[in-house]
Amino acid sequence: MAHKLLGKDFLPPDVIAKVTGEAKYAEDFRAEGMVFARILSSPYPHARVKSIDATEALAMPGVVGVLLPEDVTNPAPPEIPLLTMEPGYVGAPILLVAAEDETTAQDAIEKIRIDYEPLPFTVDPLASLHPDAPDARTDGNIGAGGSANVALGKLKWKREDFDSAGERMPMGEPAPKQDWTFGDVEAGFAKAKLIIDEPFVHASNSHHSMEPRTAMAYWQNGKCILHLSSQSQSFITPALAGMIGIPATDLVVVAEYCGGGFGSKGGAYPLQALPALLSKKINRPVMMRVSRAEEYYNGSARLGFQGQVKLGFAEDGKLLAADLYIVQENGACNSFWDFRNAPDGLSVLYQPEAMRWRGVPVFANSPIRSAQRGPGYNQMVHIMEPLMDRAARELKIDRLAIRLRNVGGIAAPIGPQRTPATSCYMKDALEKGAQLFGWDERMKRNGQRNGSKVTAVAVGQAFHPAGFNGFDGLLRILPDGKVHIHTGVGNLGTFSHSSTSRIAAEVLKLNWDDVVIERGDTRKNLPWNIGQFGSNTNFTMARTNYVAAMDALTKLREIAAKEFGATPDDYDIDGKRVFRKGLPGIGMAYSDAARRAIALGGKYDGHELPKDINPMTQVSATAIAGTGLVGVAKDNLAVNGAPSAFAAAFIEIELDLETGKHVIIDYLGVADCGTVIHPSGLETQVKSGAVQGFGVASLERIVYDPQNGLPASVGFYQARPPTYGDVAQRFRTSAVDKPDPSSPLGTKGIGEPLLGCAGSALLCAISEAIGGHVFNRTPIVPDMILNHLAKQPQAHGRLQVNCQ
């Protein structure tokens, strides 16, 4: 079916403001009487605050007030506290000082007397499972929220688990209910021709959002107005209101622009609430700027893995059995459940006949963690893809062929429940990519030497879930003929707030010029929508916008039938008018239908609403009732399976064996994102996701001094996100472009796997360039390569983390 808008480029409404500097981020707002807040944060990795004396600070001219731990209501441990008397990492906020200017606030921080009692700490989760090792928290050492749902508790492995481990990772009992099995794993290994059994480390890496999580808050007529940095809009409002202690209807969230989040600003986080609470206490607007170092303390990082993976392959490369154990580094508080996502990724991409997974989420006195682009799934492919290459080498199979041997079908089953993907076109992505990249031709160059440089060619894959359902859609056709689409999804910079709104425009056959996107501010009457994270926006918001548009379409037809007779089914639309099928002269403009809707009232103009929509949508729809024809509905469409996104990457690098440095000569990313919704937006994501993958594979890490628990990576130069000089010289992009049957117009998400496929491809290429050695570790940095080539021991222990 030919689409009017889908698959076509457009000018997203927020682009111009981004190139002119007019786009306003949290720190760009001012309020009359605004004061500045500074954070007093923990200098210790783990300590108890025995007393706080702010007397001297409060007496300083210009100091307006303080916000102390006793002033806030913290969530139950081990959730991230707003302010804490037992900081669990360097940089944990203890209190805030507000002053007329920021220098005074900072000077006042120096005058606050705090008596700390340092406590034992750990920056190595695996080591902390040893019975003699310290725990990161005084109330336990394991826990995880979300789908893992591991209660805060204490788990120590046995001494003999460590003593008998040998070259393998020590593996004691997993956390409660954190294990599953399908198939007969031992039988799979028994009949395997090749067994690979390796310990591995996937480093933590910071999100490095360019915009620190600065926020500004003030109160007006009992409502809190909060300018903040958030990937999400509607989704964070209830939780954030809870942190502030007010009903969601009393919180105004302004988040029109977000200077990068990558998962770290997906949900509500404590630093958003702090200026609101301080503002309430001192009755002044509060700007709380967050420094780069503070961003590294509190701005989140990907969860690190220590693990062991055992793989059994048949002679033809078929993966018969997999046994995976993951120790996850949580940071000091509850964060995410990457360790539980990872095995699902392994199962769907390689389709082992049998598989076992075990895991432990362990606290460490290191920065706050949260989901980062492809949480768990991408760590998994960064470990697995180089091992698939190793299997191919040992079995003398082409590295592309071994992936095609194991790739899942269109309804590829996922995880222990064997839930089918709504669509999986990984095979198409690999084949299309191989053809576009010229795999066979390039393989002739693979291994070629040019002086000290060697050329290597590689392929990588990745997977991520790609959508939710059950959120609400809201739009209205106004008497001026414009259609306002209300979207509460957020603005991560992917333009998907608009590209998914085009689904509604497509259904109503609108000209894009007739569409107004309402977003970015709670006061714009936004529906209950998913946050912008997890590759979910496209699938989830395509559905909400589809159902809202279908509701509007039904109402247009009903109004026409009321006006001109016959039944609603006898009417069609053309983007401007609703008219009688076969008799186009009989009908009315959308603008006239909007006027009729207002006259009719009831469900037509939003005075009567569906019973099943979220309370937030009820409030928003009620506020716009009477302004036009209102289309509003909850997404109750069927979903047949698990929405899934896949991506393949092909890469050619040149690695200098004398320096250990590589140059990426050429990169091709191929997306399985269903029907392509926004071609230039997709191209942007394929390229930039790859940039982040290159960073994870070869640059980014968190470094801690294990003796003192102090972070060494608190600036861009140390934590090393990729620069212009680190990326591919040539990027190529493509897509499978086959529709997903569970999405109304075939579209689905894609953001996350675009990182993982690229990171995997680069890791594989580096291994290929040095004769097939697999480090089983990220990132691979030049000194590791040089040590390996010189047959020198590595600077890090085999399972050591937060180092290099």
């Binding site: 720190e27 120096e110 360019m210 622009y257 576009l436």
Partner: protein
């Protein structure tokens, strides 16, 4: 296009980071290393002039072709003056320590990290920010238009700095190769990873269509 004498003079005047630190220390305004890390956060100074020993002085600076009179503290950075006293919030602060380029402005035609430039040092010099690039009738600068056409920005936070750096590059070298542009832009970080889009935009603005990369 550019005057070599002016270029050389501008180069000579450009403050190195070391000189910047020395000047801050000499000003006596910074009490501890901690407050240097947060250095330049002293704008929006209180009416009382809360920092002991720091006194605002009224100076004139040429910003986007307009002479602006502004009270400036000795240790105040140009980024803070622009953002908090002149209302020019297009210049962003991301690292505040000369690592990322989000605060890039031009001073006498040379790109400079305004987070690490003392406002007092730009007296009688020409400062150009992102807000100064639009034409007299509000039309986008050709580089801005190219950034739009190539869907350059993602989150947009680094974009003003990228645009200013690209404008400065093309003033100096109107026909850069893609590799020259990559090198010239390397002081500007983009965490979204939109580097290839930005390079495409610069190639487009430079009329170098052969080096615009799209598709497979």
């Amino acid at each position: 296009m550019s005057d070599p004498t002016i270029e050389a003079e501008a180069e000579k005047r450009r403050l190195s980071r070391r000189e910047f630190i020395k000047r801050v220390i000499a000003s006596g305004a910074v009490a501890s290393s901690a407050s240097f890390v947060f250095g330049g956060l002293s704008a929006c100074s209180s009416p009382r002039g809360a920092v002991a020993g720091s006194v605002e002085r009224l100076i004139s600076i040429d910003v986007n072709g307009q002479l602006r009179r502004v009270d400036v503290l000795p240790q105040e950075t140009l980024a803070m003056t622009l953002r908090y006293k002149l209302g020019l919030t297009g210049t962003k602060l991301s690292c505040d320590r000369a690592e990322c380029g989000a605060c890039t402005v031009m001073i006498d035609g040379v790109t400079t990290y305004s987070c690490s430039t003392l406002t007092h040092s730009v007296r009688a010099r020409k400062v150009m920010t992102i807000e100064g690039l639009r034409g007299p009738n509000g039309e986008l600068h050709p580089v801005q238009q190219a950034f739009v056409d190539e869907l350059g920005p993602q989150c947009g936070f680094c974009t003003p700095g990228q645009v200013v750096a690209a404008v400065a590059l093309l003033q100096k070298n109107p026909k850069p190769t893609r590799e020259e542009a990559r090198h010239a832009m390397s002081g500007n970080l983009c965490r979204c990873g939109a580097y290839d889009n930005y390079l495409n935009a610069i190639m487009r603005a430079a009329g170098n269509t052969a080096e615009i990369h799209h598709g497979a």
